[in-house]
């Protein structure tokens, strides 16, 4: 069957630089001395640690339990001993720490008992749960949990496998397709069954003829309508939305999922991992990483999650003039702030950068509104307008001009004759908008809770007044009776009362010494309240010394939060 190809607007054609590493078969990276496995594999979710320092773990043993809807499990990549559980920096432009389990390999690499998962008999839910428990996430770089993506839709017409790999330098998917096409397609047919897709389309950029041939050969062995399609090499053809557009003509807007349009897209590496997880019961413990750039020996390695990047760099041998190390491709990746960070599930490529290969950007000049960026933008935005608005902190306008449709592909910065780092402005504007939204929802919540508290206090005051009135009436009715010394105070019998009183006195003295500035207006109220309570308590403890030692009666309701 001949698939009609569509095109997306924009895009750029940077030098591919695939030949440096494309010839190198996948080799197993040697075991490092320590594996630092972050419990956070993406910015979305962190797993809960279920091992302790000193535990012996087996390869594939779960060490992090998934939490939240977007959580996936984390596993020990090899057998060994947990030597630390603590904060370590994450491979992230922020250089912030995250909780990591540090494992010292014992060298035996002993597997936990693997259970083959029979997905033919299992229900869909069970299969998705298995994927979650095997820690399967999208390996294209975004690391979105696969079970969530799969769970979003059934009755999908087309399943797309993304083997485009459009970013320069990266060859990990290329090698995977050449060497493990059968497994990828087995995974693809599992995925296809899980979402009930009618046809399977595999999109590969036409600069990878060997991978196309390998995939075609493997595709002829599986059932169902399957086609391997060579798509024109044009960055970012491997962007999910762009690939879907090229292969099916469907455009998926920001905030919508492919499932709503009857199409879903998975990376070839993800399909491979799905196959390993379901057919062999193997959790996701390693991935293929391309080591390339300004190095002596570029190559592709199967690397355990948690391997420090510095360990990997000894394999490829960066040349002396290397000044930075990039994770991901040069268009969308980032420079690692440090090299002792571990490989995570989204690490597809490590590039040693030298000023010769990646020259520092030329000085920024003013935007001349030439529109080059708009012509290059695959999301068909007007990048320079977004730039003006983001630069002026005019985030409302930026959103009006569809800032969030920007996929941060970098095409606009790539072509800009004024060398403006446009994408930096979009990243800044986006994270600023997110922060504001977080602040706003926190403020809204605080306002609601404050108003509710005021309302509750009002109500309690009224109730109290009513009660008091009733009591007064009662007392008046029982005129002549001896006033009971045990009115409301009987609840407060406790030996600690004296302690409180002492503490209070101390606190009071302190407060008199330094009056906190922030309670200027409220202090009168608060203090009156405190004084009232104190008085009541002191009175109670003095009046009722005999009762001390009694357990606190449960009827005294504290004003705890609802």
């Amino acid at each position: 069957m001949i698939t009609r190809l569509f095109s997306f607007r924009g895009g750029v054609k940077p030098d591919a630089h695939k030949s440096e590493s494309a010839h190198a078969p996948i080799a197993m990276a040697p075991m490092p001395e320590r594996l630092i496995v972050p419990l956070r594999q993406s910015t979305r979710a962190t797993a809960r640690c279920i091992v302790q320092v000193g535990d012996l773990v087996l390869k594939g043993q779960r060490i992090g339990e998934p939490e939240g809807t977007l959580g996936t499990a984390v596993h020990a990549p090899t057998s060994g001993k947990v030597i630390e559980f603590g904060l370590h920096p994450l491979a992230h432009p922020s250089d912030l720490n995250t909780r990591c389990v540090v494992i010292e390999p014992d060298g035996a690499d002993r597997w936990i008992e693997r259970q083959v998962f029979d997905y033919h008999t299992a229900s869909r839910e069970q299969a998705l749960a298995q994927l979650r428990d095997c820690g399967i996430v999208g390996l294209g770089g975004a690391t979105f949990p696969s079970h969530v993506k799969l769970g979003r839709g059934t009755g999908i017409e087309t399943l797309i496998l993304n083997g485009a790999e459009c970013e320069p330098w990266i060859t990990c998917d290329d090698r995977l397709m050449r060497e493990r096409a059968r497994d990828i397609l087995a995974g693809a047919s599992i995925l296809r069954d899980l979402i009930g897709a009618r046809r399977l389309v595999i999109g590969i950029e036409d600069n990878k003829p060997e991978a196309i041939a390998a995939m075609q050969a493997a595709a002829s062995n599986i059932d169902g309508e399957t086609s391997v399609v060579a798509v024109p090499s044009l960055y970012p053809a491997g962007g999910e939305k762009q690939l879907i557009r090229v292969l099916t003509g469907i455009e998926i807007p920001y905030g919508k999922l492919g499932a709503e349009f009857g199409v879903q897209c998975f990376n070839v590496g993800t399909a491979h991992a799905v196959y390993r997880a379901l057919a062999h019961g193997e959790p996701l413990l390693s991935r293929i990483v391309t080591l390339t750039g300004n190095v002596a020996r570029a190559g592709n390695y199967e690397v355990l999650i948690g391997t420090p990047i510095s360990h990997l760099l000894t394999l490829c041998g960066p040349k002396p003039d290397t000044d930075r190390t990039l994770m991901g491709g040069p268009m969308m990746g980032f420079a690692l702030p440090r090299l002792d960070v571990p490989v995570v599930k989204g690490t597809n490529c490590i590039i040693s950068a030298s000023p010769a290969l990646f020259p520092p950007p030329l000085p920024e000049q003013p935007c001349i509104r030439c529109g080059e960026c708009a012509r290059a933008c695959p999301a068909e935005l007007q990048p320079f307008e977004l730039y003006w608005f983001s630069r002026a902190h005019n985030f409302g306008k930026a959103q009006e001009y569809n800032l969030f449709d920007c996929i941060e592909c970098g095409c606009c910065s790539y072509v800009c004759p004024s060398h403006i780092p446009l994408v930096d402005y979009y990243r800044f504007a986006k994270s600023e908008i997110w922060a504001r939204e977080r602040e706003k929802s926190a403020a809204d919540q605080a306002r609601d809770r404050f108003e509710f508290r005021n309302f509750r206090q009002e109500r309690e005051k009224e109730e109290k007044a009513a009660k008091l009135a009733a009591k007064a009436a009662e007392t008046r009715a029982k005129l002549g009776d001896t006033p009971a010394p045990s009115t409301a105070a009987k609840a407060d019998e406790d030996p600690k009362k004296a302690l409180i009183a002492a503490a209070l006195a101390r606190a009071k003295a302190q407060k008199e010494a330094v009056q906190p500035r922030n309670t200027d207006q409220l202090s009168a109220d608060t203090e009156a309240e405190i004084a009232e309570i104190d008085a009541r308590r002191i009175k109670a403890s003095l009046e009722d010394p005999a009762a001390s030692g009694n357990p606190p009666s449960p009827d005294r309701s504290p004003e705890s939060t609802p």
């Binding site: 956070r40 910015t43 979305r44 994450l90 992230h92 432009p93 922020s94 912030l96 995250t98 000085p363 920024e364 780092p421 930096d424 800044f428 986006k430 994270s431 600023e432 997110w434 922060a435 602040e439 926190a442 403020a443 809204d444 919540q445 605080a446 306002r447 809770r449 404050f450 108003e451 509710f452 508290r453 005021n454 406790d494 600690k496 302690l499 409180i500 503490a503 209070l504 101390r506 606190a507 302190q510 407060k511 906190p516 500035r517 922030n518 309670t519 200027d520 207006q521 409220l522 202090s523 608060t526 309240e529 405190i530 309570i533 606190p552 005294r556 504290p558 004003e559 705890s560 939060t561």
Partner: protein, 183 residues
């Protein structure tokens, strides 16, 4: 001449009527200005502005009784937004009301807490849970960092801790370049 005058008067009357109608038809209920000011205030409810909460301060600003630079948690940005909204000049935060601090939350030292419930009563947003004579805890996501619970605690077991930046809350910085370098 007379016709022109008549026509002008007629137009004026028609327009006036239309405007008057619009004013009645589209009148906004309530006091939108107070709402708008309140929306800018950070809702920390700390009282540093010398009003018992953000809403009363918003009302005071709307009435012209309070200045716009009295809210330390809102900081410079908050003042700027208020100045924009009200068409006033920006002015720096008034020092007598406090200083802008990084967002913090209260932390109760659970060993020392005696369970007196005083902080519960002080908390404007009910962010503290606990029962009498039992250890109390601050529900971190609810805490606004108003510090009102610090003073009432008889054993001084509450401290403010700065909220650390995480990968999730980390923000990309505004791009900066040395323009001069190239000169």
């Amino acid at each position: 001449m007379l016709t022109a005058l008549l026509i002008m008067t007629g137009i004026a009357l028609v327009l006036g009527a239309a405007l008057g109608y619009a004013a009645i038809r589209f009148r906004v209920e309530g006091d939108p200005l107070v709402e708008k000011i309140d929306a800018i205030l950070p809702q920390t409810q700390c009282g540093q502005c010398s009003y018992p909460g953000c809403k009363p301060y918003a009302e005071a600003i709307a009435k012209g009784e309070a200045d716009i630079n009295q809210c330390p948690p809102g900081g410079e940005e908050g003042i700027r937004k208020l100045a924009d909204l009200l068409g006033r000049e920006f002015k720096p935060l008034s020092e007598e009301h406090g200083v802008e601090k990084p967002k913090s939350v209260a932390l109760i030292d659970e060993q020392t807490c005696i369970g007196c419930t005083l902080c519960i009563q002080a908390c404007p947003v009910d962010a503290i849970v606990g029962a009498a004579k039992q250890m109390h805890t601050v529900v971190e996501p609810l805490c606004t960092g108003c510090e009102l619970c610090l003073a009432p605690c008889p054993v001084d077991c509450i401290t403010m801790v700065e909220v650390p930046e995480t990968v999730q809350t980390w923000k990309w910085k505004y791009p900066v370049f040395e323009l001069r370098k190239s000169a």
